[in-house]
Symmetry: C2
Subunit: 514 residues, 2 copies
């Protein structure tokens, strides 16, 4: 057990709530308290004994309290190794008592970040003394107990009662881990904040951080444990208003769905996701038409998927939605009568994303203990479009082509997206060969919407390496193709398009996504 | 510019190299130096003036130097706001001079972690005083310059010379960012180390960290900037021995390739990857046969892919490899004559992964500023296999089924993998509908290896929701199927298998991968 008796504590907390739950136990075990500033006043006001840190160190408070605990008398009391004889001798010589318990939290820097204070005021909220106390005590957990969060008071009280004023090594090590989790998180917040302020995109040492939002039932598969973390408190504005808890794969689908929804026109459009891949997207003039068109693109795959509606769900749409089984319905809100209808289904999750905010500009891909960092792919292609065939696109075709190319960005590579007007009619994705993606897309269209293939358009996320893909698409009646261009076979590819009487435009922008 | 004159510096470094490049400039601008311990001795031995920190603070060194700089005289000198009149008065009253420059690095805790010291010795390498000095100076960057890495000495010298002994606010803020990047990284290393020691998988505050390995030419697409980070210095043992630098997508493919290679029998097997998805895997008795079988599974998709060979490449294999264009060839080594042949191709990257190590037990998926954490999917299914059809598998079938189910784990969902003996003959993956994956897999087999379909087996990464997939596979001559089971339609699915005279086994383990 390696029990250590606690005789003296230092208490300095930013969050003063809950002290009353702790102090009776400290008193019960005759634990002397050193404190300072507002914590000192609070403890005294609760009628507990307590010595001020300045009188304890003999060093007057100065610089508005910036250095009050940064004193050798405090830190020698914490950091000495109790069974080291030389350390013991040093302490006796300088009359420095041990400090066995450190109860310290940190200035709430992260919270202040959300309050839009000016820069100088924010900097003032970076805690130096508190972090040092926490780290010193956490380092010396073999002898010292560190409590760095008020939510651990309860456990401390229990531990002290159980061990009659002592703590066990197991408890101290757990508290030490939590302390370093806190200081690492705290400095990661500061580090990312300054980096973004002065536009350091790829620092030589990079940290990422998140708060545990929830332990999930399991991960991607039932035998994998999984959890959800976020650097924002409210999961960036996702509000679940009905249904069971969300799973690992649900979150993945939700992210895909909202990425597409965000790229559609404001308050327009519907995207349906299955296995993190779009299986139908539409941006027509009415909500109902958008939904029906998105659904009809691949009604079989849509089953059990996630649907994102970029507007407020009406009663009429709710009736349509209820005809299909979706695991998740995301929207910018639900009319009351719509909600009534949708809530009848027990197994659907309804989520309001009207306050949803994508704040991240970077995208991270973790591969074991290595990770890739890149800019989020949010380029606009409008200006670079170049017609390369003798036939030019009509303005309607151009609109459809741009829509199709945008959807390409969200489908896994290699991706081919077929579009009629402003709705997908066939999506081929996730194939190692581009020709295969062409085939999958056209087969889907042929199966579900054969009447819409004639005069439709196609987008490819990367260049066509050979003319075969063009020929495959032309065969089914597709009339225009949008693609980045840039293959050594571009000339042959353009020739094939001209020969088939197609329109082809180059974007000079690739949209790989893996 | 907000130039600040530097009059006094504190120098306390673990890495004492390069001090001689810095000291002449400090002397030139009459900067007084406070130092301690080995840094003090080193500066003196180089014949520069320097005052010991103990005589500066008047507090004797104690506890083997654990608290030497944790003194208000030091920290008030750093932390005071120069234009705050009250601060100024405090300093004059207590005769505390300003410290304008802090040159401090940290005990090399991370390096020590790799040295397999015992736990108590490791804890001793957690730096408290150094971290406090760095954080204090970095917080007060409006007045103070912090240099936290010897690689920045050069920039400091340049800055001081340019500004005649002063530093600009731009320089100080950049150095402050680097300082917080360091302290965040440092505590993240400690935090993850303690968490793993006491088996905290999902802490309430989680940090991740990496060192910049290289800035890549670009990210997933040319318009996205991208960089590679790793928490290990040597990229976990990947050694590039020939070819151009690796791209973002190369790293993604390499990781997929090695994940599969690692799952194959020691020194056996070949996996070919395109767009982070397998397009051919084989584990036959000879290197050549494995390679040819993996290639023949989808020779079109293999073009430009990454191939991982789980053994040392022989001359004979090199000749075969050179007949196909691969972007990357990974192996456990290359015979000298093999290397000579392979190096003839300018555009191939040759990588030795014999020292490659997957140390990570967790898998991370970043979705904007939210991330999912889960166990790596490394379950063994051997014990749970249950035959559900009247026909039982032969021992060879069972071997093939297990091999197929393992490959499923690495193909994007929904995944169907067809196997003949120990080689894939058709992989259908990345589809929102399982039936489509069945079709893609069987079409591929029909196209490239029709003679091998008869008597082959199939694996599905998740259950069949309907009998249609079974019927599709049976139609082509597949004789046995492995799948998790667990659908409400299991009975119908088993019926379909029995009706078609198939063997079917359930694993009760799902292998979704997105």
């Amino acid at each position: 057990m390696n029990l250590k008796k606690i005789k003296r504590a230092i208490v300095s907390v930013s969050d003063k709530s809950n002290l009353e739950s702790l102090l009776p136990t400290l008193k019960k075990f005759n634990i002397k308290i050193i404190s300072s500033g507002a914590s000192f006043k609070k403890i005294r006001s609760l009628k507990y004994d307590c010595v001020d840190v300045s009188s304890y160190t003999g060093f007057d408070e100065m610089l508005d309290g910036r250095v009050k605990t940064l004193h050798p008398k405090i830190h020698a009391g914490i950091l000495n190794i109790r069974k080291n004889k030389k350390h013991k001798k040093d302490l006796i010589k300088l009359k420095i008592p041990n400090i066995d318990l450190v109860i310290v939290d940190l200035y709430p820097f992260e919270k202040k970040l959300t309050e839009k204070l000016n820069f100088k005021k924010l900097v003032e909220h970076i805690d130096i003394g508190g972090s040092t106390l926490i780290r010193a005590a956490a380092k010396n957990f073999n002898d010292v107990t560190i409590i760095s969060n008020i939510s651990d008071y309860k456990m401390l009280v229990k531990e002290l009662k159980k061990n009659k004023g002592s703590t066990s090594i197991k408890f101290r090590e757990l508290m030490s881990a939590k302390a370093f989790n806190l200081t690492a998180y705290y400095d990661s917040v500061i580090s990312n904040w300054i980096n973004s302020r002065i536009n350091i995109k790829f620092p030589s040492k990079k940290t990422l951080h998140g708060k545990l939002i929830e332990n999930l039932r399991y991960g991607e598969n039932p035998h994998q444990k999984g959890s959800l973390y976020s650097s924002s408190d409210n999961l960036s504005g996702l509000k679940k208003i009905h249904g069971k808890s969300l799973s690992y794969n649900n979150y993945n689908d939700i992210y895909s769905a909202l990425s597409i929804a965000k790229s559609l026109k404001k308050n327009k459009g519907v995207a349906i996701i299955k296995h993190a891949n779009p299986c139908g997207v539409s941006e027509e003039n009415t909500q109902i038409k958008s939904f029906k068109n998105a659904l009809n693109c691949d009604p079989i795959s849509a089953f059990g998927g996630a649907v994102a509606i970029n507007s407020i769900v009406s009663k009429q749409l709710a009736i349509e939605l209820n005809k299909v089984f979706f695991e998740i319905i995301l929207s910018k809100g639900f009319k009351e009568d719509a909600l009534k209808i949708l809530k009848k289904r027990k197994n659907v999750r309804l989520i309001d994303f009207s306050k949803f905010d994508f704040t991240s500009n970077e995208q991270l891909l973790f591969l074991g203990n290595t990770f890739l960092v890149q800019d989020v792919n949010n380029i606009l292609i409008n200006k670079k479009i170049k017609v390369v065939t003798s036939k030019k696109p009509t303005s309607n075709q151009l609109k459809s082509l741009k829509f199709a190319f945008n959807i390409c960005k969200f489908a896994k590579s290699n991706a081919i997206v077929l579009v009629n007007k402003n709705s997908t009619i066939g999506i081929g994705s996730g194939q190692p060969s581009r020709l295969d993606s062409c085939k999958i897309a056209s087969q889907k269209a042929l199966k579900y919407l054969p009447e819409k293939i004639i005069n439709s358009v196609a987008a490819s996320d990367a260049f066509f390496p050979f003319p075969d893909g063009i020929q495959e698409l032309a065969r089914f009646g597709i009339k225009a193709i949008i693609q980045p261009g840039g293959s050594i076979n571009d000339r042959k590819v353009i020739q094939a398009a001209n020969k088939a009487g197609l329109v082809m435009v180059f974007t000079e922008t690739r949209h790989f996504k893996h």
